[in-house]
Protein backbone atom coordinates (compact mmCIF):
# COMPACT_ATOMS: atom_id res chain seq x y z
CA UNK A 1 0.00 0.00 0.00
CA UNK A 2 1.30 3.42 -0.96
CA UNK A 3 1.62 6.05 1.78
CA UNK A 4 -0.11 8.64 -0.40
CA UNK A 5 -2.26 7.69 -3.32
CA UNK A 6 -4.02 10.08 -5.66
CA UNK A 7 -6.63 8.51 -7.83
CA UNK A 8 -8.06 10.29 -10.87
CA UNK A 9 -8.71 13.70 -9.35
CA UNK A 10 -10.30 16.66 -11.16
CA UNK A 11 -9.77 20.07 -9.58
CA UNK A 12 -11.55 23.29 -10.50
CA UNK A 13 -11.30 26.96 -9.62
CA UNK A 14 -14.92 27.97 -10.03
CA UNK A 15 -15.81 26.71 -13.48
CA UNK A 16 -12.25 26.46 -14.70
CA UNK A 17 -10.70 23.02 -14.53
CA UNK A 18 -6.96 23.03 -13.87
CA UNK A 19 -6.25 19.41 -12.91
CA UNK A 20 -7.52 16.58 -15.13
CA UNK A 21 -7.85 12.97 -13.99
CA UNK A 22 -4.53 13.07 -12.24
CA UNK A 23 -3.14 10.02 -10.45
CA UNK A 24 0.06 9.53 -8.56
CA UNK A 25 1.42 7.68 -5.58
CA UNK A 26 4.21 8.10 -3.07
CA UNK A 27 5.65 5.16 -1.18
CA UNK A 28 6.92 5.45 2.36
CA UNK A 29 10.52 6.66 2.47
CA UNK A 30 10.54 7.89 -1.11
CA UNK A 31 11.51 11.27 -2.48
CA UNK A 32 9.21 12.10 -5.37
CA UNK A 33 9.45 15.18 -7.57
CA UNK A 34 6.69 16.78 -9.54
CA UNK A 35 8.06 18.97 -12.27
CA UNK A 36 6.36 21.20 -14.76
CA UNK A 37 6.28 24.75 -16.03
CA UNK A 38 4.42 27.74 -14.66
CA UNK A 39 0.69 27.20 -14.46
CA UNK A 40 0.89 23.44 -14.94
CA UNK A 41 -1.14 22.90 -11.78
CA UNK A 42 1.59 21.83 -9.36
CA UNK A 43 0.60 24.16 -6.54
CA UNK A 44 -3.05 23.38 -7.12
CA UNK A 45 -2.25 19.70 -6.66
CA UNK A 46 -0.50 20.31 -3.34
CA UNK A 47 -3.25 22.63 -2.16
CA UNK A 48 -5.73 19.90 -2.96
CA UNK A 49 -3.79 17.28 -1.03
CA UNK A 50 -3.62 19.68 1.94
CA UNK A 51 -7.38 20.18 1.86
CA UNK A 52 -7.34 23.89 0.99
CA UNK A 53 -9.27 22.95 -2.16
CA UNK A 54 -11.45 19.89 -2.61
CA UNK A 55 -11.30 17.86 -5.77
CA UNK A 56 -14.56 17.65 -7.66
CA UNK A 57 -13.93 14.02 -8.57
CA UNK A 58 -11.50 11.30 -7.59
CA UNK A 59 -10.00 10.13 -4.35
CA UNK A 60 -6.95 10.93 -2.27
CA UNK A 61 -5.88 8.23 0.14
CA UNK A 62 -3.35 8.47 2.93
CA UNK A 63 -2.30 5.29 4.70
CA UNK A 64 -5.21 3.69 2.89
CA UNK A 65 -7.91 6.12 4.10
CA UNK A 66 -9.69 8.65 1.89
CA UNK A 67 -8.87 12.19 3.00
CA UNK A 68 -10.17 14.37 0.18
CA UNK A 69 -13.12 15.64 2.22
CA UNK A 70 -11.15 16.41 5.37
CA UNK A 71 -10.40 19.99 6.47
CA UNK A 72 -6.74 21.14 6.34
CA UNK A 73 -6.15 20.88 10.09
CA UNK A 74 -7.22 17.25 10.12
CA UNK A 75 -4.91 16.49 7.21
CA UNK A 76 -1.99 18.08 9.05
CA UNK A 77 -2.89 16.08 12.15
CA UNK A 78 -2.58 12.88 10.11
CA UNK A 79 0.95 13.84 9.11
CA UNK A 80 0.66 15.49 5.69
CA UNK A 81 2.49 18.78 5.96
CA UNK A 82 3.06 21.38 3.27
CA UNK A 83 5.73 24.05 2.99
CA UNK A 84 3.89 26.41 0.65
CA UNK A 85 5.18 28.26 -2.38
CA UNK A 86 6.69 31.63 -1.50
CA UNK A 87 7.36 30.49 2.13
CA UNK A 88 4.26 32.23 3.55
CA UNK A 89 5.90 32.91 6.90
CA UNK A 90 4.03 34.82 9.59
CA UNK A 91 5.82 38.04 8.78
CA UNK A 92 5.38 39.92 12.06
CA UNK A 93 6.13 36.94 14.25
CA UNK A 94 9.58 35.93 15.43
CA UNK A 95 11.51 33.02 13.97
CA UNK A 96 10.88 31.02 17.11
CA UNK A 97 7.14 31.74 17.14
CA UNK A 98 6.91 30.74 13.47
CA UNK A 99 8.54 27.43 14.34
CA UNK A 100 6.34 26.87 17.39
CA UNK A 101 3.19 27.55 15.39
CA UNK A 102 4.36 24.77 13.08
CA UNK A 103 3.97 22.37 16.00
CA UNK A 104 0.35 23.39 16.58
CA UNK A 105 -1.13 19.95 16.04
CA UNK A 106 -1.52 17.92 19.23
CA UNK A 107 0.84 15.15 18.26
CA UNK A 108 3.63 17.64 17.51
CA UNK A 109 2.85 20.02 20.37
CA UNK A 110 3.93 17.54 23.01
CA UNK A 111 7.34 17.09 21.43
CA UNK A 112 7.96 20.66 20.32
CA UNK A 113 10.94 21.36 22.61
CA UNK A 114 12.75 18.36 21.26
CA UNK A 115 11.80 19.01 17.64
CA UNK A 116 12.89 22.65 17.76
CA UNK A 117 16.34 21.50 18.86
CA UNK A 118 16.47 19.19 15.86
CA UNK A 119 15.45 22.04 13.58
CA UNK A 120 18.14 24.29 15.03
CA UNK A 121 20.65 21.48 14.55
CA UNK A 122 19.63 21.29 10.89
CA UNK A 123 19.69 25.10 10.48
CA UNK A 124 22.23 26.50 12.97
CA UNK A 125 21.74 30.00 11.51
CA UNK A 126 18.20 30.08 12.83
CA UNK A 127 19.34 29.59 16.39
CA UNK A 128 21.13 32.95 16.17
CA UNK A 129 17.96 34.59 14.93
CA UNK A 130 15.25 33.18 17.17
CA UNK A 131 13.91 36.57 18.24
CA UNK A 132 14.11 38.23 14.83
CA UNK A 133 10.90 38.95 12.93
CA UNK A 134 10.43 36.61 9.99
CA UNK A 135 9.96 39.50 7.55
CA UNK A 136 13.45 40.81 8.26
CA UNK A 137 15.21 37.57 7.21
CA UNK A 138 16.97 37.01 3.89
CA UNK A 139 15.28 34.79 1.31
CA UNK A 140 17.45 31.80 2.15
CA UNK A 141 16.83 32.16 5.87
CA UNK A 142 13.11 32.50 5.25
CA UNK A 143 13.12 29.23 3.36
CA UNK A 144 14.94 27.60 6.28
CA UNK A 145 12.24 28.83 8.63
CA UNK A 146 9.54 27.62 6.25
CA UNK A 147 11.05 24.14 6.06
CA UNK A 148 11.77 24.15 9.79
CA UNK A 149 8.18 25.12 10.49
CA UNK A 150 7.06 22.21 8.34
CA UNK A 151 9.31 19.81 10.26
CA UNK A 152 7.93 21.08 13.55
CA UNK A 153 4.61 19.46 12.62
CA UNK A 154 6.34 16.03 12.66
CA UNK A 155 5.33 15.16 9.09
CA UNK A 156 4.99 11.64 7.82
CA UNK A 157 5.15 13.18 4.39
CA UNK A 158 6.62 16.63 3.79
CA UNK A 159 5.39 18.42 0.68
CA UNK A 160 7.59 21.24 -0.58
CA UNK A 161 6.27 23.71 -3.15
CA UNK A 162 9.19 25.16 -5.12
CA UNK A 163 11.64 25.48 -2.23
CA UNK A 164 14.30 26.92 -4.55
CA UNK A 165 12.10 29.71 -5.86
CA UNK A 166 13.83 33.09 -5.84
CA UNK A 167 17.04 31.90 -4.20
CA UNK A 168 20.62 32.49 -5.33
CA UNK A 169 22.28 29.42 -6.92
CA UNK A 170 24.52 28.78 -3.92
CA UNK A 171 21.55 28.78 -1.57
CA UNK A 172 19.60 26.54 -3.91
CA UNK A 173 22.29 23.92 -3.50
CA UNK A 174 22.04 24.25 0.30
CA UNK A 175 18.28 23.89 0.27
CA UNK A 176 18.38 20.75 -1.87
CA UNK A 177 21.11 19.30 0.35
CA UNK A 178 18.84 19.92 3.30
CA UNK A 179 15.93 18.21 1.57
CA UNK A 180 18.15 15.21 0.97
CA UNK A 181 19.18 15.20 4.62
CA UNK A 182 15.55 15.31 5.74
CA UNK A 183 14.74 12.38 3.48
CA UNK A 184 17.75 10.44 4.73
CA UNK A 185 16.49 10.90 8.27
CA UNK A 186 13.38 9.00 7.24
CA UNK A 187 10.79 11.56 6.18
CA UNK A 188 8.94 10.90 2.95
CA UNK A 189 9.19 13.90 0.61
CA UNK A 190 6.95 15.08 -2.20
CA UNK A 191 8.55 18.04 -3.90
CA UNK A 192 7.27 20.37 -6.58
CA UNK A 193 10.00 22.10 -8.55
CA UNK A 194 10.87 24.02 -11.66
CA UNK A 195 14.56 23.40 -11.04
CA UNK A 196 14.32 20.06 -12.80
CA UNK A 197 17.93 19.03 -12.71
CA UNK A 198 18.49 19.51 -9.01
CA UNK A 199 15.17 18.11 -7.90
CA UNK A 200 15.28 14.99 -10.05
CA UNK A 201 18.87 14.25 -9.15
CA UNK A 202 17.98 13.88 -5.49
CA UNK A 203 14.67 12.10 -6.09
CA UNK A 204 13.76 8.46 -6.45
CA UNK A 205 10.95 9.05 -8.90
CA UNK A 206 9.35 11.92 -10.75
CA UNK A 207 6.18 13.03 -12.47
CA UNK A 208 5.99 15.58 -15.26
CA UNK A 209 2.90 17.73 -15.09
CA UNK A 210 1.68 19.55 -18.19
CA UNK A 211 -1.60 21.47 -18.33
CA UNK A 212 -2.95 19.67 -15.30
CA UNK A 213 -2.17 16.17 -16.58
CA UNK A 214 0.68 13.76 -15.95
CA UNK A 215 2.64 13.80 -19.18
CA UNK A 216 5.31 11.41 -18.00
CA UNK A 217 6.42 9.48 -14.96
CA UNK A 218 9.22 7.18 -13.95
CA UNK A 219 12.45 6.75 -12.03
CA UNK A 220 14.23 10.08 -11.66
CA UNK A 221 17.32 9.04 -13.57
CA UNK A 222 15.23 7.80 -16.48
CA UNK A 223 13.43 11.16 -16.65
CA UNK A 224 16.74 13.03 -16.57
CA UNK A 225 17.86 11.03 -19.59
CA UNK A 226 14.61 11.47 -21.47
CA UNK A 227 14.98 13.47 -24.72
CA UNK A 228 11.71 15.39 -24.26
CA UNK A 229 12.70 16.47 -20.77
CA UNK A 230 16.18 17.36 -21.94
CA UNK A 231 14.85 19.78 -24.54
CA UNK A 232 11.76 21.08 -22.74
CA UNK A 233 13.04 21.39 -19.17
CA UNK A 234 16.81 21.16 -19.13
CA UNK A 235 17.51 23.36 -22.15
CA UNK A 236 19.90 20.87 -23.70
Amino acid sequence: MALLEIDQIDVFYGDVQVVFGLSLHVEEGEVVSIIGGNGAGKSTLLRTISGLIQPRRGEIRFEGNPIQRLPPEEIVARGIVQVPEGRRLFSLMSVEDNLIVGAYNRRADEKKQQTIEEVYALFPRLRERTAQLAMTLSGGEQQMVAIGRGLMALPKILMLDEPSLGLAPLLIRDIFDTVRKIADQGTTVLMVEQDVRHSLSLSDRGYVLEHGRTAMEGPAQQLLDNPHIKTAYLGL
Binding site: S50, F90, L92, V101, N105
Partner: protein, 295 residues
Protein backbone atom coordinates in the same frame (compact mmCIF):
# COMPACT_ATOMS: atom_id res chain seq x y z
CA UNK B 1 -5.07 76.21 33.92
CA UNK B 2 -5.87 73.67 36.60
CA UNK B 3 -9.27 72.85 35.11
CA UNK B 4 -7.60 71.95 31.83
CA UNK B 5 -5.37 69.45 33.60
CA UNK B 6 -8.39 68.13 35.45
CA UNK B 7 -10.35 67.75 32.22
CA UNK B 8 -7.39 66.13 30.53
CA UNK B 9 -7.07 63.56 33.28
CA UNK B 10 -10.77 62.77 33.28
CA UNK B 11 -10.70 62.70 29.49
CA UNK B 12 -7.87 60.18 29.50
CA UNK B 13 -9.77 58.04 32.02
CA UNK B 14 -13.03 58.08 30.07
CA UNK B 15 -11.06 57.67 26.83
CA UNK B 16 -9.39 54.54 28.16
CA UNK B 17 -12.88 53.05 28.54
CA UNK B 18 -13.63 53.96 24.93
CA UNK B 19 -10.30 52.36 24.10
CA UNK B 20 -11.29 49.24 26.01
CA UNK B 21 -14.50 48.96 24.00
CA UNK B 22 -12.52 49.54 20.81
CA UNK B 23 -10.01 46.89 21.86
CA UNK B 24 -12.72 44.28 21.50
CA UNK B 25 -13.51 45.55 18.04
CA UNK B 26 -9.87 45.54 17.04
CA UNK B 27 -9.34 41.95 18.19
CA UNK B 28 -12.28 40.84 16.05
CA UNK B 29 -11.13 42.90 13.11
CA UNK B 30 -7.53 41.71 13.41
CA UNK B 31 -8.60 38.11 12.88
CA UNK B 32 -11.79 38.20 10.81
CA UNK B 33 -10.83 41.29 8.79
CA UNK B 34 -14.37 42.58 8.95
CA UNK B 35 -15.78 45.43 10.98
CA UNK B 36 -18.29 44.13 13.47
CA UNK B 37 -21.19 46.56 13.33
CA UNK B 38 -22.85 44.83 16.27
CA UNK B 39 -20.01 45.78 18.58
CA UNK B 40 -21.86 48.56 20.41
CA UNK B 41 -24.78 46.19 20.89
CA UNK B 42 -22.46 43.60 22.40
CA UNK B 43 -21.31 46.26 24.84
CA UNK B 44 -24.95 46.97 25.59
CA UNK B 45 -25.58 43.29 26.30
CA UNK B 46 -22.54 43.27 28.57
CA UNK B 47 -23.92 46.26 30.46
CA UNK B 48 -27.27 44.56 31.01
CA UNK B 49 -25.61 41.36 32.20
CA UNK B 50 -23.50 43.36 34.64
CA UNK B 51 -26.49 45.48 35.69
CA UNK B 52 -28.66 42.48 36.52
CA UNK B 53 -25.85 40.58 38.17
CA UNK B 54 -25.19 43.53 40.47
CA UNK B 55 -28.85 44.33 41.07
CA UNK B 56 -29.90 40.76 41.84
CA UNK B 57 -27.00 39.80 44.08
CA UNK B 58 -25.88 43.16 45.41
CA UNK B 59 -22.30 42.31 44.52
CA UNK B 60 -19.63 44.95 43.88
CA UNK B 61 -19.96 46.08 40.23
CA UNK B 62 -16.50 44.84 39.40
CA UNK B 63 -17.17 41.44 40.91
CA UNK B 64 -19.72 41.00 38.12
CA UNK B 65 -16.72 40.43 35.82
CA UNK B 66 -16.71 36.80 36.91
CA UNK B 67 -20.19 36.49 35.38
CA UNK B 68 -19.89 38.90 32.48
CA UNK B 69 -16.62 37.66 30.98
CA UNK B 70 -17.56 33.98 30.57
CA UNK B 71 -21.15 34.74 29.57
CA UNK B 72 -20.05 37.23 26.93
CA UNK B 73 -17.27 35.00 25.65
CA UNK B 74 -19.69 32.15 25.09
CA UNK B 75 -22.25 34.53 23.60
CA UNK B 76 -19.74 35.90 21.07
CA UNK B 77 -18.33 32.46 20.33
CA UNK B 78 -21.77 31.07 19.52
CA UNK B 79 -22.84 34.18 17.60
CA UNK B 80 -19.88 33.77 15.29
CA UNK B 81 -20.19 30.00 15.13
CA UNK B 82 -23.90 29.92 14.33
CA UNK B 83 -24.57 33.14 12.41
CA UNK B 84 -21.36 34.39 10.83
CA UNK B 85 -19.35 31.25 10.13
CA UNK B 86 -21.73 29.85 7.51
CA UNK B 87 -21.38 33.05 5.51
CA UNK B 88 -17.63 33.00 5.80
CA UNK B 89 -17.61 29.48 4.49
CA UNK B 90 -19.79 30.27 1.51
CA UNK B 91 -17.68 33.33 0.65
CA UNK B 92 -14.31 31.73 1.20
CA UNK B 93 -12.82 33.25 -1.92
CA UNK B 94 -14.18 36.76 -1.35
CA UNK B 95 -11.59 39.23 -0.09
CA UNK B 96 -13.98 41.53 1.72
CA UNK B 97 -17.08 39.54 2.55
CA UNK B 98 -19.65 42.31 2.51
CA UNK B 99 -22.41 39.93 3.56
CA UNK B 100 -20.65 39.41 6.88
CA UNK B 101 -20.88 43.15 7.48
CA UNK B 102 -24.55 43.04 6.59
CA UNK B 103 -25.12 40.19 9.03
CA UNK B 104 -23.37 42.02 11.88
CA UNK B 105 -25.61 45.00 11.13
CA UNK B 106 -28.59 42.67 11.40
CA UNK B 107 -27.31 41.39 14.73
CA UNK B 108 -27.07 45.01 15.92
CA UNK B 109 -30.73 45.67 15.13
CA UNK B 110 -31.92 42.39 16.56
CA UNK B 111 -30.03 42.79 19.83
CA UNK B 112 -31.11 46.40 20.33
CA UNK B 113 -34.73 45.54 19.67
CA UNK B 114 -34.62 42.42 21.83
CA UNK B 115 -33.28 44.55 24.66
CA UNK B 116 -36.11 47.01 24.09
CA UNK B 117 -38.66 44.21 24.17
CA UNK B 118 -37.29 42.52 27.24
CA UNK B 119 -36.11 45.45 29.37
CA UNK B 120 -38.16 48.33 28.00
CA UNK B 121 -36.88 51.74 26.96
CA UNK B 122 -36.16 53.14 30.42
CA UNK B 123 -32.75 54.27 31.56
CA UNK B 124 -31.46 52.10 34.32
CA UNK B 125 -28.61 52.66 36.71
CA UNK B 126 -27.40 51.19 39.93
CA UNK B 127 -28.06 53.85 42.54
CA UNK B 128 -26.39 52.27 45.52
CA UNK B 129 -23.02 51.00 44.45
CA UNK B 130 -19.79 51.84 46.22
CA UNK B 131 -18.33 53.64 43.21
CA UNK B 132 -21.21 55.87 42.19
CA UNK B 133 -20.39 59.59 42.21
CA UNK B 134 -17.11 59.04 44.06
CA UNK B 135 -14.43 61.62 43.48
CA UNK B 136 -10.78 61.58 44.30
CA UNK B 137 -9.40 64.96 45.37
CA UNK B 138 -5.88 65.65 44.22
CA UNK B 139 -5.06 69.09 45.47
CA UNK B 140 -7.80 71.22 43.97
CA UNK B 141 -8.60 68.72 41.23
CA UNK B 142 -11.40 66.20 41.20
CA UNK B 143 -10.87 62.87 39.50
CA UNK B 144 -13.74 60.42 38.95
CA UNK B 145 -13.14 57.23 40.90
CA UNK B 146 -15.29 54.89 38.74
CA UNK B 147 -13.46 56.15 35.66
CA UNK B 148 -10.16 55.58 37.40
CA UNK B 149 -11.22 51.97 37.99
CA UNK B 150 -12.14 51.80 34.31
CA UNK B 151 -8.73 53.11 33.36
CA UNK B 152 -6.86 50.44 35.30
CA UNK B 153 -9.23 47.77 34.03
CA UNK B 154 -8.52 48.85 30.46
CA UNK B 155 -4.77 48.63 31.02
CA UNK B 156 -5.10 45.25 32.72
CA UNK B 157 -7.32 43.88 29.96
CA UNK B 158 -4.92 45.05 27.27
CA UNK B 159 -2.05 43.40 29.13
CA UNK B 160 -3.93 40.13 29.52
CA UNK B 161 -4.79 40.04 25.82
CA UNK B 162 -1.24 40.93 24.87
CA UNK B 163 0.16 38.13 27.00
CA UNK B 164 -2.42 35.67 25.73
CA UNK B 165 -1.48 36.46 22.13
CA UNK B 166 2.26 36.30 22.80
CA UNK B 167 2.66 33.46 25.22
CA UNK B 168 0.00 30.83 24.67
CA UNK B 169 -0.43 28.16 22.03
CA UNK B 170 -3.90 29.42 21.17
CA UNK B 171 -2.74 33.05 21.18
CA UNK B 172 0.00 32.31 18.68
CA UNK B 173 -2.55 30.52 16.51
CA UNK B 174 -4.76 33.62 16.63
CA UNK B 175 -1.85 35.82 15.55
CA UNK B 176 -0.86 33.41 12.79
CA UNK B 177 -4.42 33.33 11.48
CA UNK B 178 -4.60 37.11 11.50
CA UNK B 179 -1.39 37.32 9.48
CA UNK B 180 -2.04 34.59 6.88
CA UNK B 181 -5.13 32.40 7.00
CA UNK B 182 -4.11 29.77 4.49
CA UNK B 183 -0.62 29.46 5.90
CA UNK B 184 -2.21 29.04 9.34
CA UNK B 185 -4.44 26.27 7.99
CA UNK B 186 -1.34 24.53 6.70
CA UNK B 187 0.01 24.50 10.27
CA UNK B 188 -3.03 22.52 11.35
CA UNK B 189 -4.92 25.50 12.76
CA UNK B 190 -8.68 25.31 12.41
CA UNK B 191 -9.44 28.76 11.01
CA UNK B 192 -13.10 28.80 11.90
CA UNK B 193 -12.42 27.84 15.49
CA UNK B 194 -9.96 30.74 15.71
CA UNK B 195 -12.61 33.09 14.33
CA UNK B 196 -14.99 31.85 17.01
CA UNK B 197 -12.40 32.41 19.71
CA UNK B 198 -11.49 35.89 18.43
CA UNK B 199 -15.16 36.84 18.29
CA UNK B 200 -15.67 35.45 21.78
CA UNK B 201 -12.68 37.42 23.05
CA UNK B 202 -13.82 40.63 21.39
CA UNK B 203 -17.29 40.17 22.86
CA UNK B 204 -15.88 39.43 26.31
CA UNK B 205 -13.80 42.61 26.10
CA UNK B 206 -16.91 44.58 25.12
CA UNK B 207 -18.47 43.04 28.23
CA UNK B 208 -15.55 44.21 30.38
CA UNK B 209 -16.06 47.71 28.99
CA UNK B 210 -19.74 47.35 29.92
CA UNK B 211 -18.79 46.48 33.50
CA UNK B 212 -16.59 49.56 33.80
CA UNK B 213 -19.48 51.75 32.60
CA UNK B 214 -22.25 50.33 34.77
CA UNK B 215 -21.18 52.07 38.03
CA UNK B 216 -21.64 55.56 36.56
CA UNK B 217 -23.47 55.27 33.26
CA UNK B 218 -27.07 54.64 32.27
CA UNK B 219 -28.04 51.31 30.75
CA UNK B 220 -30.63 51.43 27.96
CA UNK B 221 -31.29 49.43 24.78
CA UNK B 222 -29.52 51.79 22.36
CA UNK B 223 -26.60 52.72 24.62
CA UNK B 224 -24.28 50.85 22.27
CA UNK B 225 -24.87 53.25 19.43
CA UNK B 226 -23.05 55.97 21.38
CA UNK B 227 -19.98 53.76 21.49
CA UNK B 228 -20.20 52.18 18.05
CA UNK B 229 -19.03 55.15 16.05
CA UNK B 230 -16.40 56.08 18.62
CA UNK B 231 -15.01 52.56 18.44
CA UNK B 232 -14.70 52.69 14.65
CA UNK B 233 -12.96 56.03 14.81
CA UNK B 234 -10.61 54.84 17.55
CA UNK B 235 -9.73 51.68 15.70
CA UNK B 236 -8.85 53.67 12.58
CA UNK B 237 -6.91 56.23 14.64
CA UNK B 238 -4.95 53.60 16.50
CA UNK B 239 -4.35 51.36 13.52
CA UNK B 240 -6.63 48.45 12.68
CA UNK B 241 -5.77 45.47 14.80
CA UNK B 242 -3.39 47.26 17.17
CA UNK B 243 -3.85 46.85 20.94
CA UNK B 244 -1.80 49.83 22.07
CA UNK B 245 -3.30 51.88 19.26
CA UNK B 246 -6.83 51.20 20.47
CA UNK B 247 -6.06 52.43 23.99
CA UNK B 248 -4.14 55.47 22.80
CA UNK B 249 -6.78 56.31 20.18
CA UNK B 250 -9.45 56.05 22.86
CA UNK B 251 -7.59 58.40 25.15
CA UNK B 252 -7.14 60.96 22.37
CA UNK B 253 -10.88 60.96 21.70
CA UNK B 254 -11.59 61.16 25.42
CA UNK B 255 -9.35 64.20 25.86
CA UNK B 256 -10.83 66.03 22.86
CA UNK B 257 -14.30 65.38 24.23
CA UNK B 258 -13.56 66.58 27.74
CA UNK B 259 -11.17 69.48 27.12
CA UNK B 260 -12.83 70.72 23.93
CA UNK B 261 -16.02 72.08 25.54
CA UNK B 262 -13.92 74.55 27.53
CA UNK B 263 -13.16 76.30 24.27
CA UNK B 264 -16.10 75.59 22.01
CA UNK B 265 -19.58 74.13 21.96
CA UNK B 266 -19.84 70.36 22.21
CA UNK B 267 -20.98 69.95 18.61
CA UNK B 268 -17.65 71.37 17.56
CA UNK B 269 -15.69 68.81 19.54
CA UNK B 270 -17.58 66.14 17.70
CA UNK B 271 -16.69 67.83 14.42
CA UNK B 272 -13.04 67.77 15.44
CA UNK B 273 -13.20 64.06 16.19
CA UNK B 274 -14.67 63.36 12.76
CA UNK B 275 -12.15 65.65 11.07
CA UNK B 276 -9.34 63.78 12.78
CA UNK B 277 -10.86 60.51 11.65
CA UNK B 278 -11.06 61.67 8.03
CA UNK B 279 -7.57 63.13 8.14
CA UNK B 280 -6.22 59.77 9.28
CA UNK B 281 -8.21 57.92 6.64
CA UNK B 282 -6.67 60.11 3.94
CA UNK B 283 -3.19 60.72 5.25
CA UNK B 284 -2.31 57.71 7.38
CA UNK B 285 -4.84 54.91 6.95
CA UNK B 286 -2.57 52.56 8.85
CA UNK B 287 -3.17 54.64 11.98
CA UNK B 288 -0.86 55.91 14.71
CA UNK B 289 1.10 52.73 15.09
CA UNK B 290 1.80 52.31 11.42
CA UNK B 291 2.46 48.59 11.21
CA UNK B 292 -0.33 46.40 9.90
CA UNK B 293 -1.99 44.38 12.66
CA UNK B 294 0.99 44.40 15.00
CA UNK B 295 0.03 42.66 18.19
Amino acid sequence: MLFIIEDTINGILMGSIYGLAALGLTVIFGVLKVINFAHGSLLMVGMYVAYWAVLLTGMHPYLSLVVVVPVMFVFGYLLQDILIKPIFKSEKEVREPITVIIVTTGVWYILDNLALLIFGPQYRNIQDNPLRGKMLEIGDMMVSVPKLWGFFTALATALVIYLFLRKTRMGRAVRATSLDRDAASLQGINQYRIYNIAFGMGTAVAGVAGVTLVPFYNVFPTVGVLFDIKCFIIVVLGGLGSIGGALLGGMIIGVIESVGPQFMTATWTEAIVYALFLAFLFLKPSGLFGVKYDW
